[in-house]
Amino acid sequence: MLVLMSVFKVLMPMVYLVVWGTYLWLFYTDHPTPRRFCTRFGIFTVLLHVACMVVKGLALGRLPMGSTLEFMCALALAMMATYLVIEIRIQAKNTGFLVTGMAFILVFVGASFSTSEPEVSPYLTDPGFAGHAILVLLAYTALSLSFLFALLYLILNRQLMRRQFGLLFRRLPSLEILERMSVGAVKMGVPLLFASLCLGHLWMYDLADRMDAEMAAMLSPWDPKIMISWVILLGYTTGLLGYRFLGWRGKRMNVMAVAGFLAMVAAMGLVQQFFPSFHNFRSTQPIETLSGFTDSAKDMLARVERDGI
């Protein structure tokens, strides 16, 4: 298993680099060859990364999102998968270089830098938490992509306003498609966020008796992070309803999408910094003392923490 993981550690950044290169080639040249292969490469990369995560998850006996570097790799996978769903639905490939570029950087950093941080939450072995974490990751990734497409909309809008007919004008899809991609990402993000919040609520009470007394005492549906998440969900749902039923379109809608996302990030940062929350699952325990892990899993975990992916 470790051999396989070592292979994945080298292979994944290379595969992501190939995908990024293909999308970049497409963006700069609009050549039919990358157009034909970029989506296939992307799907292959996602499948390979899923296989990598499964292997690692089985080896560690937990969700492989325990450290910052692991989380970066998982984020890259979520970005690629979400982007591909949107791309296949809307058939617009020329924005792929941005998403795949970010995914490559995340995987490269995640796989290249070894870590000494042994902080792994024991809750990662719990399927409820794992499901919640995956859904949250996918939901916020989708909302991030919505922000990206809205930003591209505003850039192209500005170029058209200024009559600049350069590379972005030639390569970016139409304003309408960018808007649809942005809205499409929100359409994915909203139900995922809703499901993650529901799962989080269910899991929270289920886990109370297994938590430290101090943390269990903090469990509350009024936790600032949860509250902010519900506000975000409400905001994006309102935007979707406005788009669907009130005909909210165009520059104003996309300015709202960009501003909404930035406000969301700022609010999350503030809550993280200044409000106490039970949403802190990092363990301060050394790996050897973690409960719920087999000896071999602890050994492997220590090696993985040391060597990266």
Binding site: M161, F165, R170, S174, L175, E176, I177, G247, R252
Partner: protein
């Protein structure tokens, strides 16, 4: 059987001849057919195998478009092609001197094929990379094939030209991007809207320029086209013409004649291309309901004013409004551009897009030339083998016959499996012997040596000799 042949092309085109010369040289389908008759490219045996006419001509393909008239000729080696063409042209009433003047270019053999490949790829076209020439070449090729059996050289050259043209258009971006004002307008509209079918365009003005722009939008599946004109009668006339063209498919032809790009006619199931008329007084209402405004009137003062657009914008629920002014003097007041979510473009902007696209197409020329050279290598290889192919086929037939006899003999004495194994083994043997023979023939030092080797092979293995 046809012996050694040679290919020739005479070309009068937009690069080397003015319009009046091109007009004189033009060959309509009737004249082209008469020329084929006159040159003698009509002789074929009962099996449709081309044979040589008394004049030495094997086949001829005249190609005539608004920008070029070219005559492709395949003749038996040693034929006086100049005299042949002069005689043929004189018979059909075209001045032969045109094709032998400074306004004509002449290529022979592989250069003639190279020129044909360039033409079919759009590299020789007035609008670099335009796709119409491919269809025009196919029409000329079909006309010639209906008239007579093409010789092997021209047949192969034209088939290669179609393949090359297709490769160039799919593997490069030489045909990408608008290079005409009307098509640039459509391209610009497509930067706003994903599918034009879901949108409404208003054509302000019912003149010729407006009609052309409207045709382009209709061909690219605009959902609704509303014609608004000071004279309602003119608007209704234009709408009626456009409706008729949509019904009969003449819109495409109309665009071709005007040098526009041919696009597929709208699919009737898409429910696009609805054409209607509104009176001039309802122009402000039309602005509120439309997504694309095409203004092409001959007015001396702006007809679309800021207050009209400002009144329309709040009714649009944030949707962008795309205004295109292709009139001189301008129809749209410059202050309209200052209104939020309203995009105005003029002829200068469209020209900027066209120049950018032409530069991008020009950048693709080396790639296209690379593809042409690849295809020419294949043509040359085919040419190298053309004289040895019949003899090698006879040799192969002889070896196959021997093999069948041997296998039949084995089958009588041994099991079917053994016979099959012997069959496979001998098949491999034949393949190797043939491969070596063809390679030796192709690598002959001189033409005489090659002819001598071929003659020897023919003498030994030809059917009559075997009998």
């Amino acid at each position: 059987m046809i012996g050694p042949t040679s290919l020739h092309v005479w070309s009068i085109n937009h690069k080397n001849a003015p319009t009046e010369v091109r007009e004189k040289a033009h060959l309509d389908p009737d004249r082209a057919t008469a020329l084929m008759d006159a040159l003698g490219g009509h002789v074929a045996d009962k099996n449709h195998v081309p044979t040589v006419s008394e004049t030495g001509c094997i086949s001829v393909v005249p190609v005539s478009t608004c920008n070029r008239t070219e005559i492709y000729l395949e003749v038996v080696d040693g034929t006086d092609v100049d005299a042949l063409l002069r005689k043929g042209l004189a018979e059909v009433g075209t001045d032969p001197d045109l094709f032998f003047s400074e306004h004509a270019s002449v290529w022979t053999e592989l250069d003639a094929v190279r020129h044909l490949y360039h033409v079919s790829s759009g590299l020789e076209s007035m609008m670099l990379g335009e796709p119409q020439i491919s269809a025009q070449l196919k029409d000329a090729y079909r006309l010639a094939r209906r008239h007579h059996e093409l010789g092997p050289g021209l047949l192969r050259a034209f088939q290669g030209a179609f393949r090359t043209g297709k490769r160039v258009r799919t593997e490069t971006r030489i045909s990408n991007g608008a290079v005409s004002v009307a098509f640039a307008a459509v391209e610009l509209a497509r930067k706003f809207f994903e599918k034009l079918c879901d949108h409404r365009a208003v054509l302000v003005g019912a003149g010729e320029t407006g009609g052309l722009a409207a045709r382009h939008f209709l061909q690219h599946n605009i959902g609704n086209l509303v014609v608004v004109n000071r004279s309602l009668e003119n608007a209704e006339n234009l709408a009626a013409i456009l409706r008729e063209e949509m019904k009969t498919g003449l819109g495409k032809k109309g665009l071709m004649n005007r040098g526009g790009l041919a696009a597929p006619m709208p699919d009737p199931d898409l429910k696009c291309g609805k054409i209607s008329v509104q009176p001039w007084e309802q122009l402000t209402d039309a602005l509120a309901e439309a997504d694309v405004i095409l203004s092409t009137t001959g007015a001396t003062e702006p007809v679309i004013l800021p207050e009209m657009v400002e009144a329309a914008v709040p009714r649009r629920k944030g949707k962008p409004l795309f205004l295109l002014d292709i009139a001189v003097p301008r129809d749209i007041h410059p202050d309209v551009a200052k209104i939020s979510n309203v995009f105005t473009f003029g002829l200068d902007d469209l020209d900027g897009i066209i120049q950018g696209n032409i530069a991008a197409r020009t950048g693709q020329v080396p790639h296209a030339q690379g593809i042409i050279e690849e295809e020419l290598i294949e043509f040359q290889q085919w040419l190298d083998e053309i004289d040895i192919r019949p003899t090698v086929a006879e040799f192969k037939a002889y070896l196959e016959e021997l093999k069948d006899k041997q296998v039949g003999f084995v089958r009588k004495k041994q099991s079917a499996e053994v016979a099959a194994a012997v069959d496979r083994s001998l098949q491999q043997f034949i393949k190797k012997v043939l491969g070596r023979s063809v390679s030796s023939l192709k690598n002959s030092q001189t033409r005489q040596e090659r002819e001598r080797d071929l003659e020897t092979l023919k003498r030994i293995f030809a059917p009559d000799e075997r009998e």
